[in-house]
């Protein structure tokens, strides 16, 4: 993978000097995805389904193919692939539809302090509403979920295991391949937050054998406004929709109605058409680059960067061993919001805060952190600019009295 050549695919990297290290929040958008959505808006910008005229037929075909492309991408079927507003919406659908109807008082739901708010709060609500218990896998001293620790909290009462595939703060990968069969032995279902996995890993839901899985378009070269829920067919068949209305029903009577089959029963109203078509193009782009190659590339960059950072005094890296392109760190005694302005001046875009994952920030016992995340379009020069900037920032903040 030639990251220098890749940069040419991203208009924003042509338009301005920018070292973009915030892909874990949103990836940049390649021209091909923009073009694909423009094609929709300029050549067939109409609604799908029920339109028997040609451009509506075309929109329906493109939209249908988009779902198949995305289903194939994770080795799911068309029926198992539901479009949502984003990963958050998909994760909520699982908790609200499956969770509220299957979890009972004193049942246990296993979660972790590595979860993004969008995977912890829906289950916190299920626990509150049903009287079930939220059980946290103890993290090891690096902050990881381990199989050993998972075994310590798994019981006959475990009904749901809701874990992230890759942490958006620590960049750790959860050993799901071992955890999922253990959970299944106890009869629990496993919900996987793959928002940080889909951009960097080939996800095979059949091999993983997870029950539900969710991810977002905007983190994997795709547009905003779309996400994906995967669910095993028999689970999706057995659970109820949580939104009702146009396009998700067959027959509507005054006091009753019948739903369509999955995936349609979960998708009321006009779908995110341009977004689905754009996401399919993003998937093709991602597949062309190969997720494994991207991951290897970003890991290499991350390791270079960590090595440089560890040499600096007054800089703390919280996840030096992470296996993805995320570095979570701080300049000692400098609030991350102060620090991030320094990087911004050097056109380095990074995130400061709790990254919608306050539990792990609290676990780290800091008020907030800086996060740099590398992706396919970052280069070794970017790493150098970044680590040089950290050094300069360290010196600067010390000099002004922090």
């Amino acid at each position: 993978m030639d990251a220098h050549k890749l940069k040419l695919d991203f208009p924003i990297l042509q338009n301005q000097p920018l070292i973009y290290l915030d892909t874990a929040a949103s990836s940049l958008t390649p021209q091909c995805v923009i073009d694909t959505m423009n094609e929709y808006y300029t050549e067939y910008p109409v609604n799908v389904h029920r339109g028997v005229y040609q451009i509506s037929y075309k929109a329906t075909e493109k939209y249908t193919q988009a779902r198949q492309t995305i289903a194939d991408f994770i080795n799911a079927t068309f029926e198992e692939t539901v479009f949502t507003r984003g990963a958050s919406s998909a994760l909520n659908l699982i908790a609200t539809s499956y969770g509220l109807s299957h979890v009972q008082k004193d049942d246990e739901i296993i979660v972790s302090e590595l979860e993004h708010h969008s995977h912890i709060l829906p289950w916190q609500q299920v626990a509150k509403k049903t009287g079930a218990k939220l059980i946290y896998v103890p993290l090891n001293k690096e902050g990881r979920i381990t199989v050993e620790n998972f075994k310590r909290v798994l019981t006959d009462r475990t009904k749901v295991v809701a874990l992230t595939y890759i942490s958006n703060v620590m960049g750790y990968e959860t050993p799901l391949q071992e955890i999922i069969p253990l959970a299944h032995q106890k009869g629990a279902i496993v919900s996987v937050d793959a928002a940080q996995a889909a951009p960097h890993k080939t996800i095979d839901v059949k091999k993983l054998n997870c029950d539900f899985l969710a991810f977002s378009g905007h983190k994997m070269f795709g547009p905003t406004g779309i996400g994906v829920l995967y669910g095993k067919q028999k689970l999706l068949d057995s659970i109820e929709p949580i939104e009702y209305g146009g396009d998700m029903n067959d027959n509507v009577e005054l006091f009753d109605a019948v739903w369509k089959d999955t995936p349609y029963k979960f998708e009321t109203g006009t779908p995110p058409i341009a977004e689905a078509i754009g996401l399919a193009e993003a998937v093709r782009y991602l597949q062309k680059l190969k997720p494994e190659a991207i991951l290897a590339h970003e890991q290499k960059l991350k390791e270079l960067a960590v090595k440089a950072l560890l040499k600096l005094d007054g800089v703390t890296v919280y996840n030096p061993t992470s296996e993805t392109g995320i570095i979570n760190f701080n300049l000692d005694d400098v609030h991350p919001h102060d620090a991030v302005s320094f990087f911004d001046e050097d056109h380095i875009a990074m995130r400061a805060g709790h990254h919608c994952a306050q539990l792990i920030i609290k676990w780290l016992k800091v008020p907030a952190t800086l996060r740099a995340s590398f992706y396919a379009y970052n280069t070794e020069e970017d790493v150098k600019t970044f680590t040089d900037a950290v050094k300069k920032a360290r010196d600067f903040f010390t000099s002004v009295g922090f």
């Binding site: 799908v48 389904h49 029920r50 028997v52 005229y53 509506s56 037929y57 067959d250 369509k260 349609y264």
Partner: protein, 147 residues
């Protein structure tokens, strides 16, 4: 001449106005396959009785446009009496023809040939195939239960 004259051939209109083999049965010896097309509301049920590798009867019912309803009638008329292997070939051939893929012009599709015009109307392909796909599923089910 309006393009659409290629679509609404006389044979099709005849089967639409005077459907053959219409109406479902409760007989448990029939395979029943039901397909809805969520994108246009067509809804067709095909029932088939197969004995000794032969299609003994085909029934149909449902709602939809003229292309959809007539094609169920044409399907039933064509298939009754056919050997199952031959029926399968005819089905695949018909589907290929409609979807504008290579097909064997020598296989006798009889009245079903009238649907050749559909390929010019991509938005209507589903209308012309829904009954046949239900029938295709029937043959698949039968084959699986006879392996």
């Amino acid at each position: 001449m309006h393009q659409l004259e290629n679509l609404y051939r006389q044979i099709i209109m005849d089967h639409y106005k005077n459907p053959r083999h219409k109406g479902l049965t409760d007989d448990k010896n029939y395979f029943t396959h039901h397909i809805k097309n969520p994108s246009c509301g067509d809804d067709i049920t095909i029932q088939t009785r197969i004995e000794n590798q032969t299609i003994k009867d085909v029934r149909h019912d449902g709602s939809g446009c003229s292309i959809c309803c007539s094609s169920a009638s044409v399907l039933a008329s064509l298939m009754i009496g056919k050997d199952i292997d031959h029926a399968e070939k005819l089905t695949l051939n018909y589907l290929s023809m409609i979807m504008n893929r290579p097909f064997d012009e020598d296989l006798d599709l009889d009245d079903a040939m009238a649907y050749q015009g559909v390929k010019q109307f991509p938005a209507r392909i589903k209308c012309a195939t829904i009954a046949w796909k239900a029938f295709e599923n029937t043959i698949k089910e039968w084959s699986e239960s006879h392996e």
